[in-house]
């Protein structure tokens, strides 16, 4: 997205003023409205589709497979495909590595079936279009797809070390997967202001950006800066990190409950 110099300076001044004026009038803590659809892929154990009001869209599928966790302890496999980008594109790889780290926060015990076997989850993310950094959208997608994931109900004994048998499942009863995936927030920084969920035009003039991760009521790693453009990026007051964290701490639970009430 290329903006004219006049547009950029208008946006910058508006975002830098006190209080900041966002181009669509949002509060610093306000997200773009989103639409969420879940459970639309019958052949997946869980699925979600998130569409932000700017047209950014991401689809997530969760498929489970029974594995022997004594030989394969990597129980979460995530693959991210961003339409129009190559699989080895920087953006795709950095998203994949971010979520690989983040999903380690999920309690893997919940996936364990028996002493020997566990569910392995394959999380496939397809970003159909994105106007700015898609990590936040992806985390919402993963959150709601895992929340909508149902797995076959185990009927065989937990202790299977003695018997050389695969776990047995109920014919049709399903159990809801109870995991709490982390959420990722992107924040934009303009001068001394910080605001959540920057739109494409806001990213274009931001002096810097932050990625803040959150789960279960607390901030977790990674927290890091993120250059949102390659023309305006510069250093910022470290106090803004505190402010950003406060912002996320205050509002993240609202997001989590909004995503859960589906």
């Amino acid at each position: 997205m290329t903006l004219s110099v006049a547009e950029k300076s208008y946006l910058y001044d508006a975002l830098a003023s006190t209080p900041s004026i966002r181009p669509d009038g949002r509060y610093p803590y306000q997200f773009m409205p989103i639409e969420i659809y879940t459970d639309f892929l019958p052949s997946s154990n869980g699925s979600s589709r998130i569409i932000a009001s700017d047209g950014s869209e991401c689809i997530v599928s969760v498929k489970a497979k029974v594995v022997d966790h004594t030989s394969d302890d990597d129980l979460l496999h995530i693959e991210i495909d961003i339409a129009g980008e190559r699989d080895d594109a920087l953006i795709t790889e950095s998203c994949t590595s971010l979520f690989n780290k983040l999903l380690k926060n999920i309690d893997m015990k919940k996936l364990q079936l028996t002493k020997k076997y566990s569910f392995k989850l394959f999380i496939d993310v397809l970003v159909i279009s994105s106007n700015s950094n898609p990590v936040s959208l992806i985390s919402f997608g993963i959150y709601s797809s895992l929340n909508s994931t149902s797995l076959p109900k185990l009927v065989s004994n937990f202790d299977d070390l003695e018997v050389e048998e695969l776990p047995m499942f109920h014919d049709y009863d399903l159990v809801k997967l109870e995991v709490v995936p982390p959420l990722v927030f992107v924040l934009g920084i303009v001068k001394n202001n910080i605001f959540i969920d920057p739109a494409a035009s806001e990213c274009e003039v931001a002096n810097n950006g932050l990625i803040i991760s959150w789960t279960n009521g607390k901030i977790i790693a990674p927290i890091r800066t993120l250059a949102l453009n390659d023309t305006n990026t510069k250093g910022f007051n470290p106090n803004l990190i505190q402010e950003g964290i406060k912002l996320v701490e205050k509002y993240a639970s609202d997001i989590a409950s909004a995503l859960q009430n589906i």
Partner: protein, 369 residues
């Protein structure tokens, strides 16, 4: 609903506005599979063998026979074989004299001579700028089709060619008129009037071009000291109203006084026929300022908030696929004052309300056609 995020959620189903057309076989008695015989052509009865022509507003879809009357000239959105004219797009029939065309429901912007458009410079090349106007191809703005600093009568020189980027560079926004069309349908633009040129002091909004109707005037002054340029191509510019914008709206004989010094949107001082500015002043004022990248330092936060409010109203109208006109923007602006919080205007149900209220208001006033 949380004010942090508004979520519309649905479980199971996927589509919004799903048009469901389930098909049930209607020839259950035909279970003998020899019933279908390829050699028999059974679709003859489906072709209306009439000389009648579809009326305006009838929906046509690709491949559909519009008429078998040979008197019509075939325009856009049609093709023909012998006497029969068929539709090549999905849309409505339009008949202008003997010209028959089908207007697609939606397509990329197709420029016409005289259109007032907003565009963004995509490329600076040899003696011309390529301008993104949301069309099928970039429009061309020739170096010779712009006013250059130093006045209209100034000759273009080689040094102008070398410093084209100092006038307009990639990313710059401008409004312009479609001067002519090339053979392949690409537009040639010009900005040789003070109402056209580089845009400043505001914000850009994009809507589908089908929502903007061609009219006499595409620049409107709105309440709250805001001016909107509704590009026919669906590109919209919202800016703080300038002196020149005010002057334009003044009735002849009005008592405007251009209290010198302040710039018009194109950097030149107001050009009201009744004001006391002569054409020679124009030449003086048509200086480097018209290509300045600087915004007016007097844009207050209140103005910026108003611009954001208008932007959200325009987006809400576009969301409801309602044609965007000055009247509708103003009606909604006034009504939107009920929402103190501009940010709430982007929520889906509020957008839907905005659209519904506009339509209701028009029905009440009987202005809806």
């Amino acid at each position: 609903m949380s004010e942090v995020i508004s979520v519309v959620a649905r479980n199971g189903a996927f589509q919004k506005n799903m048009i469901t057309e389930s098909f049930e076989s209607d020839n259950s008695d035909n279970s003998d599979n020899e019933d279908y015989n390829m050699s028999g052509s059974d679709d003859d009865e489906e072709k209306p063998a009439t000389r009648q022509i579809a009326s305006d507003s009838d929906i046509m879809t690709p491949g559909e026979l519009i008429t078998d009357d040979p008197v019509w000239m075939r325009g856009h959105g049609t093709y023909f074989l012998e006497n029969k004219t068929y539709s090549s797009v999905a849309g409505t029939v339009s008949k202008v004299n003997k010209l028959l065309s089908v207007i697609p429901l939606k397509s990329r912007y197709a420029p016409e001579t005289g259109d007032h458009v907003v565009g963004r410079i995509a490329e600076v090349s040899n003696k011309r700028w390529k301008v993104d106007i949301g069309g099928k191809q970039h429009a061309i703005l020739m170096l010779g089709s712009v006013n250059l600093p130093g006045g209209i009568l100034r000759r273009k020189s080689e040094s102008d060619e070398l410093q084209m980027r100092s006038f307009l560079k990639e990313g710059d926004l401008l409004n312009a008129e479609v001067q002519s069309l090339f053979q392949d349908g690409a537009a040639s633009l010009h900005t040789r009037s003070l109402k056209y040129g580089k845009l400043r002091n505001g914000m850009f909004v994009e809507v589908p071009n089908s929502l903007i109707v061609r009219s006499k005037n595409h620049t409107h002054n709105l309440p709250g000291n805001i001016t909107v340029v509704l590009g026919v191509n669906g590109y919209i510019w919202l800016r703080m109203t300038s002196k020149m914008d005010l002057a334009r709206d003044m009735p002849p004989g009005g008592s405007t006084q251009t209290s010198g010094g302040s710039m018009g949107p194109t950097g030149a001082v107001s050009l009201n026929p009744n004001s006391n500015i002569s054409i020679t002043r124009l030449e003086e004022e048509s200086s480097w300022k018209i290509y300045s990248d600087e915004n007016d330092p007097n844009i207050t936060n209140a103005i910026k908030q108003t611009i954001s409010r208008y932007a959200n109203i325009i987006k809400a109208l576009a969301f409801c696929e309602i044609g965007i006109t000055q009247e509708r923007i103003v009606i909604r602006y006034e009504a939107s004052m009920a929402y103190n919080d501009i940010g709430s205007l982007i929520q889906r149900d509020n957008m839907e309300n905005i659209g519904q209220e506009v339509l209701n208001a028009e029905k009440m006033r009987g202005s809806a056609a």
